[in-house]
Amino acid sequence: MRSGTLTIATKRKITGFVCVLPCIVVLLLMMAYPVLQTFLFSFSKIELPSFKLSFNGFNNFISAFSKPDVQLIIRNTIAWTIGSTVLRLSLGLVCALIMNADVPGISVLRIIALLPWTVPLIVSSNSWRWMLQSDYGVINGMLKLMGLNGFALNWLASSSTALPAVLTAATWAGYPFVMMMLLSAMQSLPVELYEAARIDGANRFQLFRFITLPGIKPVLFVVLTLELINAVNAFDMLFVMTGGGPGGATEILGLFVYRLAFVNFDFGEASSVSVVLIALVILGFVLYNTALSRSKHKGEAA
């Protein structure tokens, strides 16, 4: 149906576009502009304080990634990303399964399980640092009291235990988010499926394997993506607990970017590393989307 020179459908489209326009402006200013600026910086020599740019080709990338400690930083980043994601997902999934039980007092338990997520990261980072202090920290104190002196290690001051120690703290701080997301997905699954499966003789593992897991798969993939992005961008806990030490044993790309920008004042090199990080995240997202579409098509064909 026509009204004047514009169709009703066109008018609806324009109205919809105008309604989302504020959001688009915010996104452009808060996200697209900084990303574009970072991209420009990564290919420029930057004069401070005016930020006058002159084209520098790939020199920033070569300079940043040829620093002697870069290989260690990349290894640390991979270890951190995989470790953090696997641990948070595993603990979050196990807790979600527990919290999904229909027993008296479960809501209280859910609130308690959420508490680590409500503590500000700086507070929890400092608390964990004090607890892990090798000389007089609570954890070593308890281990010594129980006669387990051999397990009272120099947690944050040894290159072999520093990263696992911070991973433990990061898992504690981050699992509640995973738990809540997966718990919500589990609670939306139809109860009748479980009842029918039980009647057919399915045990607990089979219920989990053939009903719960496929049912929460879409949410699991979303959480996995978010956790991977979060892990690649990690900064706060590592900065507070170890500062990237000892000897660079816990320095990951996020801390490396900070060092380049705010210690070395080299915003070109810092931006080049950031651009590489963004590219990796986008690549990961594209691969994940492709894998998800393929698995959807497989499911539909079956």
Binding site: T15, V18, C19, L21, P22, V25, V26, L29, L48, P49, F51, P68, D69, R129, Q133, S134, D135, Y136, G137, N154, L156, A157, S158, S159, F239, T242, G243, G244, G245, P246, G247, G248, R259, F262, V263, N264, F265
Partner: protein, 418 residues
């Protein structure tokens, strides 16, 4: 009609937001001459008690100004300052550690105040280290407000329990090691505290550099164009210092992750560490600990890390004249003696009023006057963490002192040459 009104409102909000977010491109204007002109000063949080007094006295002397002091926590202080200057929204006066003057000035973030401030003051009125290091390449970039030295604090109870005589002025690092060995009970208490954590690099140098200087070495050459950490004296110093941890085990096990202020000071207060190197903040802290028996002595070997803080004028500060007037007002012994939250930079201020004229602080003045500073180069911020990481690797047994010294030179020399 309602749909059209809704569309107009949405368009107006969007346009208004875009204009606000785009910001103004007009250059900063000097404040109007009629209303009191605001001067914004950033300082460390240790100034928070004195800030109201400073404001009151300054505004009484200069009624045309309104002073706004932001006393900020040290965590993130430098990052916030850098970001503010680069964003064109800095304070008018920025208080920074003298070790950062070269980095900031080298990146053109500070204004040369030689003509407005430097030429109007006498260098001999100030503690030498903090005056010299408020300059960079012959130009004055800071008006020092704090001149520090480092002394050794010791826990008298721990010395008494171990039946060890207290340290005296003129003692050596060999004396320190002997005392530390007698006091240390592994796993329970330690003779001396050191710092090896990257989060406060200056604490590490406070701990390590006097050993290096005592053994005749230095971090860099005089014009900071070459790192000297591969020289025999430097390697000997790395070995001596790291042996406190590796061989003699007279320092806490967690020292790799300790800073003096955050970790070692509480250990001395808790009778777990017998000695530590620190500035006047140690005295301020220890006198508040009930039952703690403590004293201080000049650093062994005749060397301590001198330092200080200095008021600077960031480029693009809005009220440059006000900032200069503030700095010149603070360059007064009487003002400093009453209003400094920490050690005054002017020597005469130390004799005018308590606490500076008390015996404990007179010892601090002795240390400040003889303090030696770290290298004055704009590359120090980049070089320092790399060298500390090498020290950490020796402490973890991953490298020998020789390897670490050679690697420090290999890492730092290219930076100095840039």
């Amino acid at each position: 009609m309602r749909k059209s009104l809704g569309l107009v409102i949405i368009l107006a909000v969007t346009a208004g937001f875009a204009v606000w977010a785009g910001g103004s491109k007009e250059p900063a204007k000097e404040p109007s001459a009629k209303a009191p002109q605001e001067i914004v000063v950033w300082m460390g949080s240790w100034w928070s008690e004195k800030a109201p007094l400073i404001t009151k006295e300054f505004e009484a002397k200069y009624p045309q100004y309104k002073l706004k002091i932001d006393a900020l926590p040290i965590n993130g202080y430098v990052d916030n300052a850098t970001a503010a200057i680069l964003a064109g929204n800095p304070p008018d006066v920025l208080d920074i550690d003298i070790t950062q003057v070269a980095s900031f000035a080298g990146k053109n973030l500070l204004t040369d105040i030689t003509a407005d401030v430097g030429s109007k003051l006498k260098a001999s009125d100030f503690i030498k280290t903090c005056w010299d290091y408020s300059q960079f390449k012959g130009k004055q970039y800071g008006m020092p407000n704090r001149g520090t030295g480092v002394v050794f604090y010791y826990n008298k109870t721990m010395f008494d329990d171990a039946k060890v005589a207290y340290p005296k002025d003129g003692w050596s690092y060999d004396d320190l090691l002997e005392m530390a060995k007698k006091i240390t009970v592994p796993g329970q208490k330690y003779g001396v505290g050191i710092s090896a954590d990257l989060s406060d690099p200056n604490n590490v140098w406070t701990s390590f550099s006097p050993v290096l200087w005592w053994l005749g070495g230095d971090i860099m050459n005089a014009d900071a164009t070459k790192c000297l950490m591969d020289q025999p004296q430097a390697i000997k110093a790395i070995a001596w210092w790291t042996d406190l941890y590796l061989k003699h085990k007279v320092v806490p096990e967690g020292s790799l992750g300790y800073t003096i202020s955050r970790d070692v000071v509480p250990l001395l207060s808790a009778n777990k560490v017998a000695m530590l190197p620190f500035g006047v903040s140690g005295a301020d802290t220890f006198k508040k600990v009930a039952g703690l028996q403590w004293a201080l002595v000049q650093a062994p070997g005749g060397f301590n890390r001198g330092g200080g803080w200095t008021y600077t004028l960031p480029v693009s500060a809005k009220n440059k004249k006000g900032a200069i007037d503030y700095m010149l007002w603070f360059a007064n012994p009487d003002v400093q003696s009453r209003l400094c939250a920490t050690e005054p930079s002017m020597i005469a201020a130390w004799g005018l009023a308590a606490p500076w004229n008390t015996p404990v602080y007179q010892e601090m003045l002795k240390a400040a006057k003889t303090g030696k500073a770290l290298p004055n180069t704009s590359k120090w911020g980049e070089a320092s963490p790399l060298m500390i990481k090498e020290l950490q690797k020796v402490l973890m047994g991953q490298k020998t002192p020789e390897q670490a010294g050679k690697d420090m030179v290999a890492l730092v020399d290219p930076i100095l040459a840039k």
